[in-house]
């Protein structure tokens, strides 16, 4: 103790400075470390924040796309809408080779269940280093059941969502189908294409942090943007009407070995399309093995020179312009010569004095040329344009074409106006023709064609699409006069086979030549038969256009298109319970329908019924034996 006291007493300053030096070094060291740490933290947290945040996001962030359910499409039906385009989960079968045990027996079993070639399967499953191999998509219920029962090691089933069309070929060109564009499934053709944006919905996103093994961390933040499902569409097309129209078209096609056929049924007051049928059709569930030319919808995409069905418009223009009345007469010499061309009547006859109603009944070319002359070229062209020809109708279907009325641009070329007056030299689509006839039926008002009746949103609310008027083309009185003239055509003219006993049916035939593709003139021996009209003419409820392309063995539409029109109209009037107003016996088709009924009834003999019963019983027995 004493010694220490002595030291302290001897050199106190030296000891203090030594102590301070050590503390200073320590403090400096601590500060240095602190500065290094803070600097590093600054670099990590602030300066390079973006880089590290992105890196962490990449390592831990798991982003999952939430796929929206595609909207479905329905047709009108008696009790509830009928689904024509739905989403269906179908199974896919795949193999994990390294888990498969007895390869040969497994391949044999798979080939038998899936209906695949054994060699094909052998080649597919040949490489054991493959993680997995898809064997077959879109399995049937029976195949799924058999695969499950077989319990083959290394064979798995997984669900896949596909677009499915339960009614197969019904309204196929109108509905379209869904196919891949290389990235995703999108609507191809038909309503699936034109309503793609509304049907597909909006995909969602889920972002969540995961651990090193890719598992979600439950306590981490989760960012979910829910997917919005697509909207459901309820069409104006009626399931039963569409089926019947397709059936009648198919029978007509077979009867006349025609190349194709189209029919449209429209409600003239609203522009709602009740049926839009084309034959031949295709099965959208198997579109990959279908000829691509069948995907087009000829009702909106195939313009043609309609021929004499157009004469109804020339008559309507003449009436509306006040140049003629139904009883106005002219002298038919059988030929009109203009610009070096001779235009004859279709029957090559001179009929003498004829009324405007007779012009329509006998389909006289010289008569409609007479009307066109009275109306004047410019006025005539304006009316044609107001009926909607040369412009798209605006129907909600892809691939619509406007037709061609360019021949009427030059009013000095009178020959073009003469030919246009009976439907040659200008082209139109069946939908344009149907809507224009709708204007004749609907007190002169042209309506926009409507194919979607209602849109159902995912939140439960629905939007009813309202009919849209385009314009008043002719007056109501002109419309009434034309309707009476069209009725006269069915009663006394070329449209007799289109009549329905008990009802006021009006319409006009048209047998058009087919223009050559790539050169001037018309194809030899090829024609397009059309019939357009409506009923009842005093209160029109249905407008129908029937177009039969290249029917064999018939020269005129009177025999090809008119009977189909009559059958469709008869069905519609009965199906919608329209009350008959006329004496059925005065109808030109009364005897025909009576004879048909009798012939069908005569087939139903007691012996035929017994035979049918026996056949059914035999089939049932054979099923039971199986």
């Amino acid at each position: 103790m004493n010694k220490a006291k002595i030291i302290r007493r001897n050199d106190p300053k030296q000891k203090t400075s030594e102590k301070n030096w050590r503390i200073n070094i320590l403090v400096f060291f601590i500060f240095f470390i602190a500065i290094v740490v803070v600097t590093k933290l600054y670099i990590l947290q602030v300066a390079r924040h973006g880089v590290y945040a992105a890196l962490a996001e990449q390592q831990h962030g798991h982003t999952t796309q939430l796929v929206a359910k595609r909207g479905e499409i329905f047709l009108q039906d008696e009790n509830q809408p009928y689904p024509v385009a739905v989403n269906k989960e179908m199974k896919m079968v795949y193999a994990v080779q390294r888990e498969m045990k007895d390869m040969d027996s497994s391949i044999k079993a798979l080939a038998s269940i899936l209906g695949l070639d054994e060699k094909f399967l052998q080649e597919k499953l040949d490489d054991p280093t493959d993680m997995f191999e898809i064997l077959k998509n879109k399995l049937s219920d029976d195949e799924v059941k058999k695969i499950r029962e077989a319990k083959i090691a290394g064979i798995y089933l997984v669900g896949e969502n596909f677009r499915y069309y339960p009614a197969a070929e019904l309204a196929a060109q109108t509905i379209g189908f869904v196919g891949s564009d290389g990235k995703e499934q999108v609507g191809r053709y038909g309503l699936e294409s034109s309503w793609q944006d509304k049907l597909k919905g909006i995909s969602g996103m889920q972002i969540q942090e995961g651990d090193s093994r890719g598992r979600w961390i439950p306590v981490s933040d989760r960012n979910v943007e829910a997917a919005q499902d697509g909207q459901n569409l309820i069409l104006t097309i009626n399931h039963t009407v569409q089926f019947e129209v397709e059936k009648i078209l198919k029978q007509t096609m077979e009867k006349f070995s025609a190349d194709s056929a189209t029919a449209i049924v429209v409600d003239p007051k609203t522009g709602k399309i009740l049926a839009l049928a084309n034959q031949p059709s295709f099965n959208p569930n198997d579109f990959s093995s279908t000829d691509i030319s069948l995907f087009m919808n000829p009702a909106v995409s195939s313009p043609y020179e309609s021929g004499s069905v157009f004469k109804a418009f020339t008559e309507a223009i003449g009436l509306d312009d006040g140049k003629i009345s139904p009883n106005t007469t002219y002298s038919d010499t059988g030929t009109v010569v203009e610009a070096g061309y001779s235009i004859h009547n279709s029957d090559l006859k001179a009929n003498g004095t004829q009324t405007m109603t007779q012009v329509l009944e006998k389909s006289l070319n010289t008569g409609v040329i007479y009307i066109e002359k009275l109306v004047g070229n410019k006025n005539f062209a304006d009316y044609i344009s107001r009926f909607g020809f040369g412009k798209k109708t605006g129907i909600d279907l892809p691939g619509e074409v406007p037709g061609n009325i360019r021949n009427l641009e030059n009013t000095n070329r009178t020959i073009n106006f003469f030919t246009a007056s009976f439907g040659q030299g200008i082209s139109m689509t069946p939908i344009q023709l149907a809507m224009a006839y709708g204007a004749l039926a609907n007190k002169g008002v042209l309506m926009k064609p409507q194919i979607v009746d209602e849109i159902n949103y995912t939140d439960g609310h629905s939007e009813k699409i309202q009919p849209e008027e385009v314009r008043q083309v002719i007056t109501e009185s002109s419309s009434k006069q034309v309707s009476e003239m069209l009725r006269a055509v069915v009663l006394n003219g070329h449209g007799k086979q289109a009549d329905v006993p008990g009802y006021l049916v009006g319409g006009k035939t048209g047998t058009a030549q087919v223009a050559k593709t790539g050169s001037k003139g018309y194809e030899e021996g090829v024609n397009i038969g059309s019939f357009a009209g409506y009923a009842p003419t005093n209160d029109p409820k249905f407008v129908i256009v029937v177009k039969i392309v290249n029917p064999k063995g018939v020269e005129w539409a009177e025999t090809s298109a008119a009977p189909s029109f009559g059958k469709i109209m008869k069905f519609l009037l009965e199906y919608y319970k329209v009350e008959p107003t006329e004496d059925p016996k005065i109808s030109p088709t009364y005897k025909m329908y009576q004879a048909e009924n009798t012939s069908v009834a005569s087939e139903v003999t007691p012996a035929a019924v017994e035979n049918a019963k026996l056949d059914t019983k035999t089939k049932d027995d054979s099923k039971k034996k199986k």
């Binding site: 689904p83 739905v86 339960p166 009614a167 019904l170 009924n597 069908v600 009834a601 035979n611 049918a612």
Partner: protein
């Protein structure tokens, strides 16, 4: 002598007293809370109980969670079955399908259909008149 005797008695009394004192539990003798449960013991028991309750409740939650998941899966499965049945119904209601079946059954179109007028049991018209 008398004094000595007294001392001995005192000693024997003390011994007796000490014997009595030895009978009593040491803790009771030393503790200031003699007669009450030790709080440490209470805390331990409470902790054990709450631990058990926590395990039980977590277990119950897990069980309920599994039950809910199973129910959700079942609902999902039923929904899928329902959708599948709706599609099947649409297939069966397809008029092309019905026509095919009717052909297989050798059925023919009805001719000369006669509609029977339904006469209501109550004479509504008579009542209004």
């Amino acid at each position: 002598m008398t004094k000595r005797t007294i001392v001995i008695r005192k000693k024997s009394w003390l011994q007796k007293t000490n014997k009595k004192r030895n009978i009593l539990p040491i803790t009771a003798l030393n503790s200031s809370t003699a007669g009450f449960i030790n709080p440490v013991f209470v805390v331990l028991v409470a902790a054990a109980c709450s631990g058990l309750f926590y395990v039980y409740s977590v277990n119950q939650t897990a069980v309920k969670g599994i039950a809910i998941r199973n129910a959700e899966n079942e609902v999902l499965l039923e929904q899928k079955n329902n959708e599948s049945l709706k599609i099947k119904e649409a297939e069966l209601k397809s008029l092309y399908h019905i026509e095919d079946v009717s052909k297989q059954l050798n059925m023919i179109n009805a001719v000369n259909v006669k509609y029977v007028e339904e006469i209501p049991a109550v004479a509504y018209n008579a009542a209004t008149r």
